[in-house]
């Protein structure tokens, strides 16, 4: 319950930060609103747009008005495309990003769990060494470079997949692989280390003594226990997968939330940037909350700990 209450001030802080953005940026938003539409920013035009944007009012009143609009799910209109609402734009771009993040998440799970487990089981073998090398390379390689390499290989050389776009599910394969690589590297390491730690624990020793089959020890006990520690990171990675699509969406021409954010930054479309910050902030808070709840459910000891605080 206490955890739930904590989210409320957190959400408020996010709204405050997102809103303050337009106040603390070096350039005048009214002038920016004019300039992005290629209107010469004369003094009277700036004054007119100031009133239109409600910027002639004091900061706190503007914040209160903005919060009120937010409760009514109204974040205003984009500066660039005045007939499009911020909420509408986010709703339009979210599905492509979610599809991409979903595929990447599946790839991360399907690939990193078996590899992580196997490299722990066969610690210091050739397999483990090769995996560690690949993990090292995948972590060091920038997404941009990796994406173009995959595109060149699978689209141009093998003619298997399209280079870019989002018109079919096939279009999501290459970007999802690219997006997942860094995460796979991270989880392989995490699962491997967690497995190795657990292997040293007493219960594994007793299981061995009881003569239980190795495969059963690994699958039934070790994997389950190791994964529990990774759940928190895995939960956060859902948000990171969504937030980390900037570069991938740009390279693979996917009309998702990352590209919306990038173009909004380039165009100084402040209401859109505000919307993006809010959405990501809220997403982090909520996913964090859900992960905590799941962890408590999986490991009731945590609940006691919370009560004991």
């Amino acid at each position: 319950m206490k955890r739930l209450f904590l989210t409320i001030p957190m959400l408020f802080s996010i709204t405050f930060i997102a809103f303050s953005l337009t106040t603390f940026i070096p350039s005048d938003p009214a002038e920016v609103a004019l300039r992005v539409n290629e209107i010469i920013p004369t003094a009277e035009a700036i004054e007119e747009i100031r009133i239109e944007l409600g910027m002639d009012k004091p900061f706190l009143i503007r914040y209160a008005n903005w919060l009120n609009d937010l409760f009514h799910l109204d974040l205003g209109n984009s500066y660039i495309n005045n007939n499009r609402t911020v909420i509408g734009e986010i709703a339009r771009s979210l599905p492509a990003t979610l599809t991409l993040a979903f595929f990447a998440f599946i790839i991360v799970i399907v690939v990193s769990i078996p590899i992580g487990v196997l490299s722990a089981v066969y610690k210091d073998s050739y397999f483990d060494k090769i995996i560690r090398l690949i993990v090292f390379i995948a972590t060091a390689m920038p997404n941009y470079w990796m994406g173009l390499l995959l595109m060149w290989l699978f689209a141009l050389e093998f003619k298997l997949l399209p280079t870019s776009g989002a018109t079919s599910l096939l279009h999501f394969i290459l970007p999802a692989i690219t997006l997942s690589l860094n995460f796979i590297a991270l989880y392989v390491r995490l699962i491997r280390n967690s497995m190795l730690d657990k292997m040293k624990e007493d219960f594994v020793f007793y299981l061995n003594v009881r003569g239980i089959k190795q495969i059963s020890i690994i699958l039934k006990h070790l994997v389950k226990n190791s994964l529990q520690t990774s759940i928190n990171a895995l939960g956060m990675s859902i948000v990171l997968l969504i937030a980390g699509t900037f570069v991938i969406e740009n390279i693979f021409a996917i009309p998702g939330i990352g590209r919306l954010c990038i173009s909004s930054i380039f165009n100084r479309d402040y209401p859109m940037i505000q919307g993006y910050i809010l959405m990501m902030g809220f997403l982090f808070v909520f996913v964090n909350l859900i992960v905590d709840i799941i962890q408590v459910y999986l490991d009731p000891r945590l609940k006691k700990g919370v009560k004991g605080l």
Binding site: P26, S27, V32, R35, N37, E38, I39, I40, P41, T42, A45, I80, N81, N82, N83, R92, S93, L148, M151, W152, A155, L156, K159, P162, T163, S164, G165, A166, T167, S168, L169, L170, H171, N250, I251, F252, A253, P255, R259, L260, S263, R268
Partner: protein, 536 residues
């Protein structure tokens, strides 16, 4: 067993979904023989022709104007069959075509044309760069009508004073193009339009935001039907991806100087299966020198910088020869600009001599020239997002240092850069011409307005007032010879005073799959003449 079956069924479903969607893998439901797949770096956005937030290539496919500007700069009939200039250049009477319909079936006539002009004038503050709008508004303010329907197919325009570039301003892609009055919202267009119904050879069939747009030929088009029946305009923001997509046959054409780097142009114009073409110079990349700056107020220093700039090296080294060295503010193919100006040929010797004369002398033991104990230090501001400008700035810094000039280069965020330029708070800054057909009139017109950096930079010139007067006189002049004289005065003064340091001429370019024929350029670099192309 049941569970297993469920798994099999859902796997099959997923596979069939994926395969089913492969037919639309390139964004096309039906692939026509005469289909062109074009690429742009962003979405077409709002194509309302009376506003400025839509992509020009798309607006050009849908909307038409009264007159067309040909590549030699002459005007030919378009939606106007003919026109007459009366009242010493203050009145234009247009005879409109009587066989034109908008895409929504509405008839194009003088009434519809007037409704468009009225909608544009209603939003006049958005068109501050157009002198013609200001002159129409002035007529309206005097209580008279600037736009009149003088017959079912006759439209009359009145200006407060003669203004020769009117036909150019009417001919460029925006804002004077016609959209069906049925698409207006509350009789105006500034708050958006309901449908993109123009009179042009293509119709906007669909737009998947940030993905692609589809244009198909207008069956009821009044003029010659274009050969390309369908245009798919894909959105690919990244240059490398665009090139891979071109090579993979997913797109046919990449067009425009900002879409193709010099390196990419050189590779693909020589690659088998692909072709590249390049236009005449379209606009000038230049430096703007502030004549009010304490060092640059001396014309000798400004001229010295002109002499010390090796434009050939910039053209070859930084642009692979794609942009040609610029000798004058306006290229010779710009109207009224071939006036025999003597270029500042690259010469360190001449530059050094001028600096000596200006009192900036070499002092033993000091790296830079000095005057009254102070270094010859000049700041060059540039937009840090522009890699090209950054490279040019670094090159100039190293070059100027050889003759004892300390060029201090400062890259900053775009908005800060623009604010600085507008306020005239700079010594040297980057600038770029508007390009033909906007040049020379729009670029020179901008010099007379305080909201442009040019105006501020010229304040140190003793004859700034005369310069502005000559610019405005050129606009009003109905006599070709007199107009040329006014322009000559302005261009010659700016050249001799070395206010601008032209660097290179930007040229338009295109790379494409060799099956695309008839790729060419219009006079404006912003138009993509797809109606002239076909596929073989």
């Amino acid at each position: 067993m049941l569970l297993k079956n469920k798994w099999i069924a859902s796997s099959l479903l997923a596979i069939s979904l994926m395969l089913g969607s492969t037919t639309t893998a390139t964004g096309n439901d039906v692939t026509l023989k005469n289909q062109l797949t074009y690429v742009n770096y962003r979405d077409i956005r709002d194509l309302n022709p009376h506003l400025y937030s839509g992509e020009l290539f798309a607006q050009n496919l849908l909307f038409e104007s009264l007159v067309k500007i040909e590549n030699d700069g002459s005007y030919t009939p378009w939606l106007a069959k003919s026109w007459e200039i009366k009242d010493k250049g203050k009145t234009y009477v247009f005879q409109l075509r009587d066989d034109v319909y908008f895409h929504d079936g509405e008839k194009f006539n003088a009434k519809a044309a007037k409704a468009n002009f009225d909608a544009i004038l209603d939003n006049s503050k958005r068109h501050g760069w157009l002198e013609s709008i200001r002159l129409m508004i002035e007529v309206e303010k005097s209580g008279k009508k600037a736009i009149e329907v003088t017959g079912e197919y006759e439209l009359t325009l009145h200006l407060a004073s003669a203004y020769y570039p009117l036909l150019t301003e009417l001919g460029v892609t925006r804002p004077f193009r016609f959209i069906s009055p049925k698409s207006f919202k509350d009789g105006i267009t500034k708050n958006g339009v309901t449908k993109m119904s123009g009179t042009g050879p293509y119709i906007l069939k669909s737009n998947k935001i940030d993905e692609y747009s589809v244009f198909v030929t207008n069956d009821k088009y009044w003029g010659k039907k274009p050969k390309i029946e369908k245009i798919v305009a894909k959105v690919i923001p990244d240059e490398q991806t665009r090139l891979l997509a071109l090579e993979n046959g997913e797109i046919d054409l990449i067009f425009g100087p900002n879409m193709i780097s010099a390196e990419a142009y050189n590779i693909y114009s020589n690659k088998s299966g692909f072709k590249g073409i390049m236009s005449e110079p379209v606009s000038t990349r230049m430096l703007l020198l502030n004549t009010t700056n304490h060092i640059l107020k001396d014309v000798r220093v400004r001229q010295a910088l002109s002499y010390a700039t090796d434009k050939v090296k910039i053209s070859k080294g930084l642009f692979d020869g794609i942009e040609s060295p610029a000798d004058t503010l306006m290229s010779k193919n710009t109207p009224y600009s071939d006036i025999g100006l003597k270029p500042y040929e690259f010469s360190f010797e001449k530059a050094k001599k001028l600096l000596d004369e200006a009192g900036w002398e070499k002092v033993d033991g000091k790296k830079y020239r000095q005057k009254d104990g102070k270094d010859l230090e000049i700041i060059l501001n540039y937009d840090a997002n522009k890699v090209t400008d950054n490279n040019i700035a670094e090159f100039l810094q190293s070059q100027y240092a050889k003759i004892g000039i300390h060029l201090n280069i400062k890259g900053e965020e775009e908005q800060a850069f623009r604010d600085r330029q507008k306020a005239g708070n700079f010594a040297i800054t980057f600038n770029i011409g508007w390009g033909i057909p906007y040049d020379p009139q729009s670029f020179l017109g901008g010099m007379t307005k305080p909201v442009y950096g040019d105006y501020m930079a010229q304040q140190g010139l003793s004859n700034k007032k005369e310069l502005d007067e000559h610019i405005l006189a050129a606009f009003k002049s109905v006599d070709e010879g007199k107009r040329q004289k006014h322009y000559k005065y302005v261009l010659e003064t700016l050249h001799n005073q070395a206010v601008y340091l032209p660097l290179t001429y930007k040229r338009n370019r295109a790379i494409f799959n060799e099956k695309v024929k008839g790729v060419s350029f219009n006079i404006s670099q912003f138009e993509v003449p797809m109606e002239k192309m076909n596929i073989e």
